[in-house]
Structures are given as structure tokens and as C-alpha cells.
Symmetry: C2
Subunit: 347 residues, 2 copies
Amino acid sequence: MRIRYEQEKDIISNVLTSLGANDEEARVSAEVLAEGDVRGFTSHGISRLSNMIRKIKSGKIKTNVAIKITEKLPAVALVDGNHGLGHPVALEAMKISIQKAKSYGISSVGIYNTSHFGIAGYYVEQAMKENLIGIVSCTTDPMVHPFGGGQRLFGTNPIAIGIPHKKHPILLDMATSTASAGKIGEFRKMGKEIPAGWGVDKNGNPTTIPKAALAGALSPFGGYKGSGLSFIIAILAGPLVNAEYGSRVKGDYEIDKYATKGDFMITINPEAFVSRKDLEKHIEHFIDELKSSPNALGSDEILYPGEREYRTRRNQLETGITLPDWIWDDVEATAKEFGLEKNLLLT
Amino acid sequence: MRIRYEQEKDIISNVLTSLGANDEEARVSAEVLAEGDVRGFTSHGISRLSNMIRKIKSGKIKTNVAIKITEKLPAVALVDGNHGLGHPVALEAMKISIQKAKSYGISSVGIYNTSHFGIAGYYVEQAMKENLIGIVSCTTDPMVHPFGGGQRLFGTNPIAIGIPHKKHPILLDMATSTASAGKIGEFRKMGKEIPAGWGVDKNGNPTTIPKAALAGALSPFGGYKGSGLSFIIAILAGPLVNAEYGSRVKGDYEIDKYATKGDFMITINPEAFVSRKDLEKHIEHFIDELKSSPNALGSDEILYPGEREYRTRRNQLETGITLPDWIWDDVEATAKEFGLEKNLLLT
């Protein structure tokens, strides 16, 4: 199905408001999910709404929440999200990080007692809008085996890093698994095998059968290097910020449990190092050089991080967002189950 | 050949002192190089000494250098290394970062006008000794093609991240290329083909022939994700810190040119977030869980980042460091060329 960006935001916002979220919570969660879908990350868009509805109904995501901020040293804060919606909690935390980075040059904010926050890149972009560099990562439910291991122990532990630039905003936003569970699910629906290296079966053996990988574990990207990065994120967005580690991490899949995942952010003020004008100019020249570098065989174009997603975003803002039918069917079914279907009316 | 750790340090220190380095410069450079070799990173050990000798002789690495520090905001510093030896310059920068992280909770220091600094992990360890988390990266001579491209544009742009722990210090120290040029050189010497995905030839086509890859370009690790990470590091340790980008980056290979590479460090004080005791305990439990997770087929053990290198270090501190003969032959030849052979006497 196809849905307009503003329409998707309205629907999500209406659903959340009817469940008790205040205007700001509803607005922010709706915007983050729509931003996921509009740039093609359909695994991080409205597809998450069903679980959010269920967890709000079960009391394991709370609405109308005030976060609690602890500041032991001036450039750092630790945020207790009080089990609120992950999106507004993370946005508030990023606003703190932005203010601190402006004052001190760099800052870090950690978050615990919070739920899934959608695409990490959204929060990085808030820093980029203020001409700051953002780094945002989080832990998720265990789905990925460590390098050398055969069972789920790490989350997909994404990391997003953004560098502001007027013409070429750079935004790397990636999971530390080779492919997402959502992507493997698509191969399954198409009846296709997945490439080698994407996952292992229940016994820890490499598999190209989507169903087997989904029952087993996803593989980390880039061998021991990506696995190491995922492990580091598991600690930074885990025990460092008072959140859980390893198999104890709960994201948004278990309806009747509070999430125990964590978020970790760093914000850097480039003007603490060099002038904005020089940085803009040098990045532009670097990207010119990247673009004029010869392509590899079979490659049409060298892309910098974020370029593809921003193109998709521009296109889908015009044409509407294409969503797999199963996502909409699932949202509809859950809405009906809880008597929320009037909020889904497409206008 | 085999050399004792202390012996290697003495030799390097003596050579550098005889070339005009002051005691601290000689001591630090010697220690960093020996630390590379002792943990098995022979591409980052005494194998670098020949180039250092040549660049000091040509005036493109300066000795007896005072760094210049600019502080625009309290938690950040930018260091002009005045073309000194990369190791002592980076150590001084890390000391600044450590002090700032203790005061503010997080800090960042950038460095330009500096030369190759050896293993990034050495500086991270200085933070770890102070119970701080360290992140250190740098740019290097272009050797790696971007994802989708077929020619050298990125350095091997390493990143090291360390988390202090009494029993299990964690230290991820990796290049963002799949394999190092040194490793590919070893395959060449053994007359073996390299695995697919390590490099491309001069025309940008994937190759398994070591010589062709060394004449072409190394491949980034982990496809577009590793390539994206390398690009981000190229900016953070490049234009952000007043250093060069892309093909303009010079490391230590060109004898008659100043290096134009840059370094970028972040130091985090964990106690700004949680108690040291809690963090120690949770990391220990997480590693227990990692170690008791089932192995993949063909894997004997799941290692956490740094574990293998620290084992190698402990072993080689006892048995002596094994160096490929060509490395020692090269050091000897260069020392003779410049009349420095008396410094190489093994005692």
C-alpha cells in the first residue's frame, strides 16, 4: 500500500493520543516512525506501532512521562526514561546533549528505562540541524551471534553517525548485523535464499534458508571487526548507562516486560576544532573526489553515507511512502483488536 | 629473528636519541613500536623505524618538538604537532584528553601536523589505566577503495576503542580495511592467494593475487558499512582536526614530504554515568555469558576484543618477540646507510 508522509504521522499521532500519550510524545513518536518509513527503513517505521500499542496497553510503556536527569559531571548526563515511549525520551536526551556540546565542545548522554526509539539517525539529525556532529547507538533484543559463536547474544546494536553539511549531509545509520531480520523476512516471503554470511541456524551452522536464520541468529557484519564493534556498543549503551547486557536486554518484542535496553549518544561541536566554513569546503572537495573516483565493476556510482536514504526520502515525500501490505494489515488488525480503528481512517 | 621487548625498546630509543630526539620522545616512540610488535602487530612495530630514520634525516619529522594547543571550548583541544614524532605528540594529546574527561565527563582532542603514531590502542590504554574509556582513530596514506569504487581513496583509517576492566580489559584495535597491506605482503611471500574480498587490482577488479592487490587497492571491511565508517573517520581525523582528506593525506611513506594525516581521540569517564564497581561487575557477567555461549562450527573459543593480542603480549614478553627476518634486515640496512649500526648491537 501507499501512504502519504503527513498521513502516516497523523495516524500514529492519533493512535498514541487516544492511548494517553501527551501531544509532544505523540508528535515525536509519529515523526520518528514516519521518518523511518519515508527513507525506506520500513522495519523501523509504522511496523513498530502494533507492539507499541500492546505495550502501552499492558502498562510496560508509560505515557505522559517525565524523564529524570542525573548530572555528575558537566558534559555528561544520565537519563532515566521512566519507561516512556523511546522516541520522545531520546529526543529530550539529545536536546540535553546538544546544549552541553555547544557549551563544552563535546558531550555524552546515556538513557535507561526506555523503549525502542526508531531510527538512530533521527536523533543524530537533531544535532546536525544545530551544526553539530552526532553519534547515537543503542542495544536491542539479542538476535546476533558473536564472531566465533553460534547463538544469539548481541542485539543488532545500531550506530548512526552524522556530520552536518549544507549540500552533502552525511549520515551513516546502520545495524551491526550483516542484514536486518526484516530483510531476511523479505527473502522468506519471496521464496529466495539469503546470501551466505547473513545468518546461522539453531545449531549455529551457517545457513542460506531465511526461515532457519530467523529461528537461529543473524551474523555480525564484517567478521570479528563488526562483532567487536557490536560488543563495544553493547557495553556503552548497556552497563555504562545503567541498562542491561547480553541475554538480559529486552527491547520491544516482549509485551508484558519493561524494556531493559539502553541508548548512548555523543555530540561534538566542530567549531571547537575548526571553522564551519573550512569544514564545509573540505568536505565538499572530499565528496567531489569520491564522486569522480572510478567505479568498481558493476557499480554505477559511489555513494556517501546517507545519500541513498535522502534520495528515497525526497522521492517518497512526493510520491507517497510504499509500505509492504503485511505491515498495514498488522497495524489494522491490532487497531481493531483494541477498538482504535477510527484513528486509521485515511483522509 | 627473535628479540626481547626491552632490547627492542633500547635499540629504537638509542637510534632516535642519536638522531636528535629528546629522552621523552625516544622513550615514547620506542615503547609504542615495541608494544606493536609484542602483541603481534609487526606492521606497526620496529618495521616503521626505517621510514622514521629517513624522514628525520630529510627534516620531515622534527625532533625536540613542542606541541601547540588550542582550546576554544573547555572539553576539547586541537593540537598542532609541529611535525614531531607521532607517538610522543599523540601521547601528550591523550594526556590532555584524560585530564579533560576527568573534569567534564567526556573530552575530545584532535591532532594535525603529526606523523604515524603506531598502534592506536597504545593511547587508548593510557585512558584505560586511568579507568577511562578511550576511542582513538587516525587517517593514513590512501590504500583502500570506497565501496562501489575501484581506486585508492581512503586510508586504512584504524579505530581503537578500549573499556577498562580489572580482569578483562577490552581493546578493539582494528583497521577499517578487511586486511592490512602487511598481511597481504605475507601471503605474497608465502606464494599463496589471498581470500576473495581483500583487494582489487589496478583496474578496480577483485583479485586474489597478492601482488595485484598491493598494486591496486585494499577493500574496506564489511562492505558499505565498513566503507562508511572509514569515510566518517577520514573526516573526523581529517578536516575536522585541520588535517587533510582523501588523496591529499600523507602518512609516513613519502620521505621528502611532511605528513598531512590527522588523529582524533575521545575519552569518556564512566563514573560520570555509573559506579566503577557496578560497571566492573556487569562487564564480568557479560563476558562470562559470552564465554559460555556455544561455539560456532570450527571455532574453539569466543574471544572478546583484545583478548588474543593480550595473550600474544604475555607470551612474547616471556619468550621474546618473533619478527620476520625481512623487518630486521631492513632496519639493519637503513641503520648502516646512515652510520647508526652501533645502536643495533643486541646485548
